[in-house]
Structures are given as C-alpha cells and as structure tokens.
Amino acid sequence: MKILVPVKQVAVLDEDFELREDGRDVDPDYLNHELNEWDDYSWEVALQLQERHGAAVEVVPVTVGPTQAEEGLRKCLAKGGERGIRVWDAALAGSDPTVIARLLARLAEREGADLVLTGAQAADHAYAQTGVGVAALLGWPHVAVVSALDYTPGAASAKVCRELEGGLQEELAVQMPAVLTIQLGINEPRYASLRGIKQASAKPIEVLSHRELGLSDAQVGEAGSACRVRRMYVPAKGQAELIEGTPAEQARRLAEIINELRGVNG
C-alpha cells in the first residue's frame, strides 16, 4: 500500500518585518521557513506503519511550494522513504488551502494512494482545512485531529481516536482508504541520523505543475481559491505593561505586583 504524506514548510517571521508593497502579504525577504510541527508527527505515523508492516508499505512525502520547500521533503526523507514529490509553478502563487487540497487530491489519485496523512493544521496560518478538503475531493472518508491510530495496512478499516475539546477523546472506526489529519503528541517523532541526512540529499524529488495534474489555470492560484486576501496589517498591540530593568529589578517588581494582587504585604 502507498501512504502519501503532504508536508509544508511554514513561514516564521523575522522579529522586524515589512509588508509587501501591495500590503497583501509579508515581504518574503522577512520570512524564514521550517517544517510544520504537525507534519513531523504525520510523517512519523507513516514511518511507523512502514516499519511494522514492511516493504509492502511505501511512504511518500509530498509538498506544494517553490524550490525552498524541498528542504521539508529532505527532512522527511532523512528519516525514511525513497522519493518525494513537489508540486509548483508560477500560477500557484496566492493559492489558498482549497487549491492546495485540489492539487493534493489529484496527486493522491495519480499515485494511487491508499492512505493520506496530513497535519491537523499548519503552524503559520492555522487554517486546519487541507486534509479534510483532500478527502472530500477524493470522495474518501476522513477523521480530523487524530490522536491515536490502530491500523494494519490492507485492512478495510482503522480504529482511531479523535481529540476533542477539554481533553475528551472519541474512539471511532473509519473505513479505508481515508484521509487522517494528525494531531501533536500522537507519537514521538524520531531524529534523523547523520547518515540519513546524507542519503536524503541523493533521493529523487519529482516536480510537477498543476497542468501535469490535470488542473486548469482557473482552478489554481487566486482564481481557484475560496477566499482572497484584501490586506494584511500589524494589529494594535495589547496592553501589557512592560517591566524594564535588570533581571533582578524586574523580578523584584514582579514579586511586588504578585504580592499586591494577592493582598499579601510585600
């Protein structure tokens, strides 16, 4: 069976940043990128299924993004898997999660995937849309925010836990093939070995365009999106009264504040 694991390089802002000239996004010069925390867990789920069930399971990390997004794929490949896929072309700029889901669903069809594991959300924009969107486009069942998985590759259904609010969990059985969106804490993601990191740089990454996935220009980019950014802005900051001084002075003031608030005489 084949497990497709969509991963994303999320953007982290520099401390001081500027907006793009059109005011609709941050100037890319001020963005750093790292692998989405949730995807570390979904990739680990795939690797563990492969380890437990052997060569019959193929795990493939895939991403939608420009060249630098390959870094995320290499991070995954350093831990396992033999190849990755990256989808990108100029028309994809400005794509919202609906478009990303459309590309990933086409990719899952093209690959003949049997299971798709995404992160429950991405740390930068926190849409929490992509995985369930992929499922709907494929016509597959799905479970969002999965905190435990009990599955034997090839079986017709999996037992999963869905993490709800307030620490409550729901146990459910879901038919396969399915899309599961993976929650933090489901496992302990491994570290890549030095050897793994070296090997990853030689593993093949196929690059595909939206046309190669059978999508038209109108189905991608801003045109294909379910929403459009009008403007981005830095919100007015909240009211925290900042306590200045040396750490010793700051701590003394904090202690005073705490005692005052508690009604204790300092």
């Binding site: 802002l13 959300q121 740390a123 849309q129 729901e170 009264e241 900042l242």
Partner: protein
C-alpha cells in the same frame, strides 16, 4: 441568496456556547444589512435544543433530524449541504471547533462556497463581506473577501464575538435531511485523565511553563518555584505531550480552562490561540518571554521581555 444560517453545535447534550456567539455575529450583520437569521440544529432530537436557541435576533429555528446521537462527518456534511442547497443563504456560520474542523472544509469544497476558518472579525463594506483572521502565528491580521461566491461559509473563533442575549420568538420549521451512509462509526468516548488530587480549574494562582523551558530536567526548578510562591504548576501542550508533566496540568482548548484563576504567570509560552482558550479570561496575566512579539503579550497585564531562567532565578529570592 440572502439571509444568514447558523449551524448549532452540541455534544453529549450540551450546546457549544460558541453557537450563541455565531448567532450574535449573525444578528449584528442582520442589523447592518437586513435579511434573516436562521439557526439549524442537527440532532436525533432537535427539540431538546430549541429553547436554548431562541435568543436575540433569531428569526427561524430549523430542526434537522439526523440518525446519529453525536457528530458524524458524513451525516453532517450531507445534511448541511442539502440545507444550504435548499435555503441558499448568503452566509453560513459555525464555531471553529474540532467538529467543524472535521467537516467544514468538506462542505466548502463540495459546495464551492467562499470559505475561511478561525474568523474573529466580520463586517460588510458596501456589498462586500470582509472577514478578519490571523496569520503568521498571530503576528498579523488578514482581511479576506470572497469574490464571486454566492454563499460564504465561515468558522468563527470562540470568545471573539459576544454571546447572543435576550429572547426571540422564532418560527420553527423542519428540514428533511437526505439519507447518508456514514463511513465512520462512533465507538465511545474516553474521558480525560483524572488529576491525582490536582485540579487546575480550581486553582487561584497558576504558574505555567511552556516550550521555553527547553529540557525536561528544567521542570523541577519551576516546580520548586511554584511551590515556594504558593502557585499551582500548569503547562502548555508541548510539556504534556512530551510527558514532562501530566496531561491534567495542561491549560488550553484540549486541556483545562483555569476558571478560578486570579493570577496566571506564563513562562516561555508563546500564546497560541489554543493555549489562550484556557486562560484568556484571567484578570491578571503576567508573561515572561524572550520574544517581544510573542502574542501572549497582547493579553497579558504585565510583561517581561527576558529569559525565563534569569527571571525565575531572581524571583525565587523574593519568596520563602
């Protein structure tokens, strides 16, 4: 295409209070723009929720009988798609909850609606609906519109809109949902782990640690500090996920809400929405973080931009 449809949410007989916030947001748009507000409740026995949903601004309650006691993504998707198809509302609102994560994106791609999630601001500019959400880990706000979309579906962030108040006398109608074949089955619930005598929801004074503590071996010094100060030790999710502290000490959406807390000290916690869900209401939040842009400072009353180890080291000298 007119009117606003709110989809009520409930679990184990309890209405999700964010439903009332969605209703208030809808009612406010109605005041500005006209139209009607309808609230649909999908349940085995929708009547059980009607009294709680007849609140300010609601014109109609729609009962949608479904054959499942609890949320099931296929059943909910088919029912809401059919309802939207029949009513053609301009706007559909639902809470940004785990259940919504589990089916709102399916609704959006199946229906081809305008769509975004985790919205905390909503208004019309002329005829254009403008929704505001956050980006880049809450460091910027983003205004979105939905060009060419006759129906827009939004999930609303909890506690961002005030809850609907007052009473209304809505008309009550029935919608027959099409049969759906559920491809997942509810097997049961697992209750959260009990707290070993520690119940952070009762604590008045909390000292919480986050990923900023770096290593498990550092937990002990903060534990000692909390004890010295007479504070209850809490944590953000990564600390509990790593097993450094038990889950029942986790504050937040999937942890606990510290309902009785008067002073909350957040050490090395960035202030993600899910963490803030559990402590945002606390009157006195004190945050220590080395990142001056950390969003925790936006809700804190007092802030120290600095290293938690240095501050904690000094702080212990003031408590014996």
């Amino acid at each position: 295409m007119s009117g606003i449809l709110v989809i009520a949410e409930h679990r184990r007989g309890e209405l999700n209070p964010v439903t009332l916030e969605c209703i208030a947001a809808a009612a406010e748009l109605k005041t500005a723009r006209g139209g009607t507000v309808a609230v649909a409740v999908l349940a085995q026995d929708p009547d059980a929720y009607l009294a709680r949903l007849g609140v300010g601004g609601v014109d109609e309650l729609i009962k949608v009988a479904v054959p499942v006691a609890e949320f099931q993504s296929d059943v909910y998707t088919e029912a809401v798609l059919a309802l939207i198809g029949s009513r053609r509302p301009a706007l559909v609102l639902l809470p940004h909850s785990i259940d919504a994560w589990g089916y709102a994106p399916a609704l959006a791609v199946r229906g081809g609606y305008g769509f975004t999630t985790d919205v905390f601001g909503l208004r019309y500019e002329g005829d254009t609906l403008v929704a505001t959400r956050a980006g880049y880990r809450e460091k910027v706000h983003v205004e979105l519109d939905f060009p060419g979309k006759a129906t827009v579906l939004l999930t609303l962030r909890g506690n961002a809109f005030k809850a609907a108040e007052g009473s209304a006398s809505p008309a009550v109608s029935v919608f027959d949902a099409p049969a759906a074949s559920p491809r997942s089955q509810h097997l049961g619930y697992r209750e959260p782990e009990a707290g070993d005598g520690v119940d952070i929801t009762q604590a008045e004074y909390m000292l919480s640690i986050g990923r900023g503590i770096g290593e498990e071996e550092h937990v002990a010094e903060f534990e000692e500090l909390a004890e010295r100060m007479g504070f209850t030790l809490g944590c953000s999710r990564p600390i509990a996920d790593n097993g450094w502290l038990p889950k029942y000490r986790q504050v937040g959406q999937s942890g606990k809400t510290v309902s009785n807390c008067k002073i909350y000290i957040a050490l090395g916690i960035s202030g993600s929405v899910q963490h803030m869900a559990g402590m945002k209401h606390v009157p006195n939040i004190i945050a220590v973080n080395k990142d001056p842009e950390a969003s925790i400072f936006n809700i804190a009353r007092y802030g120290v931009v600095g290293d938690i180890f240095e501050i904690a080291g000094e702080l212990r000298n003031h408590f014996t």
